[in-house]
């Protein structure tokens, strides 16, 4: 695989161009054509990411598939793309989930079909851009631009309280990211006018600015992750988003925040990260335990999964900030796994919602009697959500707990409570919805999944099981990059006394 083919650019721009075409030419009367074109776009987008996987050299932590071109010379910003062993997975995940999302909205979306698919395709390209950007300004542009399609998606196709949810989502994330922008400008200045993220990794920064930078990054990424106590936009946005929106939100948007920690907070300001690790760990544990309890009492299925997402993402941040290689890798595996599992959970809820137009657990009961095939898949995903061994959910959680034990036994003990809580809320919901007698005539009238839905479920199930049974390919590919990240984190970036003397 030479560097000759710009696979990353293709992965970014194919969905965006298809989205633009659909937006320009699509009308509701040719909805069928639009769906086909959207599917073609998303499949092509997935296709061009395959060389990223097959051609990836797992022995090096260097950026691969690098593309670099002048973009804004006046600011010394470049169109600089590249993936390492960590980001390549998110590029793949995004491209994969996009196909799922396009298929998920196949029948449910009937109004403004063109805009729906255009928004998702453009969003997909932008998110791949976030994961592939090696230039700080480019990263920020992609990172912020995702807000626009997502705002539109929640606002147009959401539920009854959609306007409130969309605005809350937008303002929360905007507030966070603008503070990050200030941090980026600061880094640009101290690094002598560089926007390269890897140049920033070499920058020497004093302790006070490090802490301020860390807090600015935290403001941006914590909102996106989301961490307790800035998580409140997520349940609102999820409940009101259409199925596709929920899948994208949970599977990928949340990863943008955690990915930001990996790219910015940890390697650029490691000393502040160490200093404030206790704080982040505390927030993570609150997310795991408290939000887990909150999930338990939800009456709305989507809210329940949304809260469980927050709890799972708490695990991710916990894994990052215990500074153990296994915990770090576990956090990343958990991110990927959560992409599949939460996507699948929201898709399952979407399948039921399309038929019953209710997300309330109380409206269901005995679904297994009318939808046996669906119930089997749903079971698998609920188990994965609870972190059952042999599903992808187990691998990441186990690795994080393993790392946490080395760090501090009690933290590990608190984190491990998620295995109980996760099982409780996932399986209790599953029991109330699926098992038992047929609750009412609406449930009795349900039809089982059709071929399209079956295919999607099968794909997701395969991914969940593959990562659960044989995660080695995933961890192998990211190994070198994680090692390098850990090195950066261990190394102090403070300007040393001798260096300061030399400066003078």
């Amino acid at each position: 695989m030479g560097n000759s083919t710009p696979w990353l650019s293709l992965a970014i721009w194919i969905p965006i161009v298809f989205g633009g075409l659909i937006l320009a030419a699509g009308r509701d009367r040719n909805a069928g054509v639009i769906r086909t074109v959207a599917l073609t776009g998303s499949l092509l987008g997935l296709l061009v990411t395959i060389p990223l996987w097959t051609g990836f050299d797992a022995t090096t932590a260097e950026l691969q598939f690098v593309e670099k071109a002048a973009w804004i010379e006046r600011l010394n910003a470049h169109y600089h793309l590249g993936v390492d062993g960590i980001s390549v997975w998110f590029v793949l995940l995004t491209a994969f989930i996009t196909v799922i999302v396009v298929l998920a909205g196949w029948e449910a979306i009937e109004s403004r079909v063109a805009q729906y698919y255009a928004a998702f395709l453009i969003l997909s390209g932008l998110m791949i851009g976030v994961f592939a950007a090696a230039d700080g300004l480019l990263f920020y542009v992609f990172f912020e631009a995702t807000l626009i399609p997502m705002y539109i998606i929640i606002g147009i196709w959401g539920g009854s309280n959609r306007v409130y949810a969309a605005l809350k989502f937008f303002l929360y994330t905007l507030a966070g990211s603008l503070l990050m922008l200030v941090a980026l400008v600061y880094l640009y200045t101290v690094s002598g006018g560089q926007f390269g993220i890897h140049d920033w990794h070499q920058a020497k920064i004093g302790m006070t600015p490090q802490i301020l930078l860390f807090l600015a990054f935290l403001a941006a990424f914590a909102v996106k992750v989301p961490m307790w106590p800035v998580h409140t936009w997520l349940p609102d946005a999820h409940v009101e988003a259409p199925t596709g929106g929920s899948i994208v939100l949970a599977a990928i948007m949340l990863k943008l925040g955690a990915y930001g920690f990996l790219r910015f907070s940890l390697p650029i300001v490691p000393d502040a990260s160490h200093q404030l690790a206790g704080f982040i760990i505390a927030l993570s544990l609150i997310a795991v335990v408290y939000i887990g309890l909150v999930a338990l009492v939800q009456a709305d299925m989507k809210k329940l999964v949304a809260y469980s997402s927050i709890a799972h993402m708490g695990f991710v941040t916990l894994g990052f900030f215990i500074f153990e290689p296994v915990g770090m890798a576990g956090g990343i595996v958990q991110m990927i796994s959560h992409g599949f599992v939460s996507g699948a959970m929201f898709f399952c809820i979407g399948v039921m919602y399309d038929r019953m137009h209710s997300r309330q657990i109380a409206d269901y009961g005995g679904v297994v009697n009318t939808m046996p095939k669906f119930a089997a898949f749903f079971m698998l995903f609920a188990m994965a959500n609870a972190g059952l061994p042999a599903t992808s959910g187990f691998v990441g959680e186990f690795m994080v707990i393993l790392g946490a034990v080395k760090y501090d036994f009690w933290i590990a003990a608190a984190a491990a409570s998620t295995l109980v809580l996760g099982a409780a809320y996932s399986l209790w919901m599953y029991k109330r919805v699926v098992f038992g007698e047929v609750a009412n005539e609406n449930v009795a009238a349900l039809t089982d999944v059709n071929a399209r839905e079956f295919g999607i479920l099968l794909l997701l199930a395969a991914a969940v099981l593959w990562m659960g049974v044989y995660p080695k390919p995933v961890t192998d590919l990211m190994d070198a990059s994680v090692k390098q990240l850990i090195e950066h984190v261990q190394q102090s970036k403070l300007p040393t006394a001798s260096a300061a003397r030399l400066d003078r």
């Binding site: 006046r74 626009i148 606002g155 959609r162 605005l167 303002l171 603008l178 600061y186």
Partner: protein, 498 residues
């Protein structure tokens, strides 16, 4: 320097001749053939733009009229965008003006004379010439606001604009007289030399002069606490005139502020920088907070203008007391970039309002935009881009405008006193996003309501094309901002003598 050098003032000369020809020619044009005047005006603008385009390659600083007039890349760029803004304005005005009996010769000649005033202000290198340009511009605009004589609200707005504008001009003139009294010269270059070398009669009168000059400029710019006229005039004036007031004059005021404060009175920066801080912060706070409460789109945009000008002032004030030439150039080019992108975006937003307006219907409430996405997805998308650009969200050009301003503020790092200004700017950007998002919400999330929904959007082809270009520019310049950024940076570099 002691020569006339008429060639440097060629753009103004072309415009003046064209405006006079149109003034006379229009007398012989019957009402139903008014398109001829329109075509002539557009041709005049095109000719001026062509001359300016030719000047754009000219990298030297040229003085004319014995140093009273200056032409350099910065003036050329600003004039080019002013001409562009006026051109867009005339295209957008067509339907609206025809429906309301404003499609008359006065509209064209007054607009062209206002443009002449703007160009004169941009190129003026002498306090009196600045004042002349300002008055030419202002008098034309007062008359334009009052063009609909039978409309009570427009007349009220014209009255208010005239009284407060005259007061502001008085401030400015008074300040200029004090500067003259303190330094003994009206020439900006000479003023700068005398202030720098301490050859001044009284520093106190200079400082007082600066206070009045800044008050006058802040009035024209609409910065808090001199903003009272802005919402009423924006609201009351016929929309095409609002568009004109909101776009090109801001470019001219930027040039004047740069000319007097930076080129003329840089040694007094400690005094005027503090004033600008107060103006900028007050504008950001009041503009953004009040805009949230508006239901009328034109009033909302008026308050948004106040806030945007606050942002621009932040860039202006960050250029001083650094001693670092590159940082100074970056700050003023940030301000210039900001004001240009602001003008470009404002054009589009008022263009959309004009597109939706019909006979007897102004389309100026935010509620009138409800369901625009259903009626016309393309123009809703254009408006969406413009709103996100004003809010400063990438990938629109407004993001880079905010970005370069923040960069200018933070150039000294976190220890600098400017950091809190950056934080204020950021916080109020978030608050500002609320009202821009409300417009997007109305267009995309709400269903069309009332009589608006049923009427199709009619517009001439050139209007549709211009509006589409306007929207596309906001996006394209947002994805590839390099050209415009470099244009501003080079221009300021040259103006600073680099």
């Amino acid at each position: 320097m002691s020569n006339m050098n008429l060639f440097a003032a060629l753009p103004e000369i072309v415009l003046l001749v064209a405006a006079c020809v149109i003034l006379i020619a229009d007398l012989f044009v019957p009402d139903e053939r008014r398109n001829l005047t329109y075509a002539l005006s557009m041709a005049a603008l095109a000719a001026v733009a062509a001359v300016l385009w030719f000047f754009l390659d000219n990298r030297v600083l040229t003085y004319a009229f014995n140093g009273m007039y200056v032409a350099d890349p910065m003036t050329t760029v600003l004039k080019l965008f002013s001409v562009l803004a006026v051109g867009f304005m005339l295209v957008y005005a067509q339907g609206y003006a025809r429906d309301r009996g404003m499609w008359k010769g006065e509209l064209f000649t007054l607009t062209l004379f206002a443009l002449l005033g703007i160009m004169l202000m941009i190129s003026a290198n002498n306090l009196l010439v600045i004042y002349l340009g300002l008055e030419l511009q202002a008098l034309s605009l007062y008359a334009l606001v009052a063009l609909r004589r039978d409309d009570a609200r427009a007349s009220e707005a014209a009255m208010k604009y005239f009284v407060l504008g005259a007061l502001a001009s008085g401030f400015l003139l008074y300040g200029m007289s004090m500067l003259y009294g303190g330094s003994g010269t009206l020439d900006i270059n000479e003023l700068a030399r005398r202030v720098a070398t301490g050859q001044v009669a009284s520093r106190l009168s200079l400082v007082l002069g600066v206070v009045f000059v800044i008050a006058g400029l802040a009035f024209k710019l609409g910065a808090v606490p001199f903003h009272m006229w802005v919402p009423d005039v924006y609201h009351g004036a016929p929309t095409p005139v609002t568009l004109l007031i909101g776009s090109a004059p801001k470019l001219a005021i930027f040039a004047v502020a740069y000319r007097i404060l930076v080129e003329g009175l840089l040694p007094l920066a400690v005094d005027w920088q503090k004033m600008l801080i107060v103006l900028a912060v007050a504008s950001l706070v009041l503009g953004n907070l009040t805009a949230i409460a508006q239901t009328n789109l034109k009033r909302m945009l008026a308050y948004s203008t106040i806030a945007q000008m606050g942002f621009m002032l932040l860039a202006m004030l960050s250029g001083v007391t650094k001693g670092d030439a590159a940082a100074t150039a970056a700050a003023y080019s940030a301000a210039m970039f900001y004001v240009i992108t602001y003008a470009l975006t404002t054009l589009g937003t008022f263009g959309v309002i004009l597109l939706l307006a019909r006979e007897g219907f102004e389309a100026e409430e935010i509620a009138d935009l409800k369901g625009l996405n259903r009626r016309s997805p393309w123009y809703a998308f254009v408006m969406l881009l413009l709103m996100f650009s004003l809010a400063g969200i990438p990938p629109t050009v407004g993001f880079y405008a905010k970005f370069v301003v923040l960069q200018a503020l933070l150039v000294d790092g976190v220890t600098s006193a400017m950091v809190w200004l950056a934080v204020v700017a950021v916080v109020f950007s978030v608050i500002g996003a609320v009202y821009y998002l409300r417009v997007v919400k109305a267009m995309y999330f709400d269903e069309p309501a009332g009589e608006v929904a049923t009427v199709p959007i009619v517009a001439t082809t050139d209007m549709r094309v211009a509006l589409s270009i306007n929207g596309a520019l906001v996006l394209v310049l947002g994805i590839l901002p390099q050209y415009l950024l470099k244009l501003c940076a080079d221009a300021v570099q040259r103006a600073l003598g680099g």
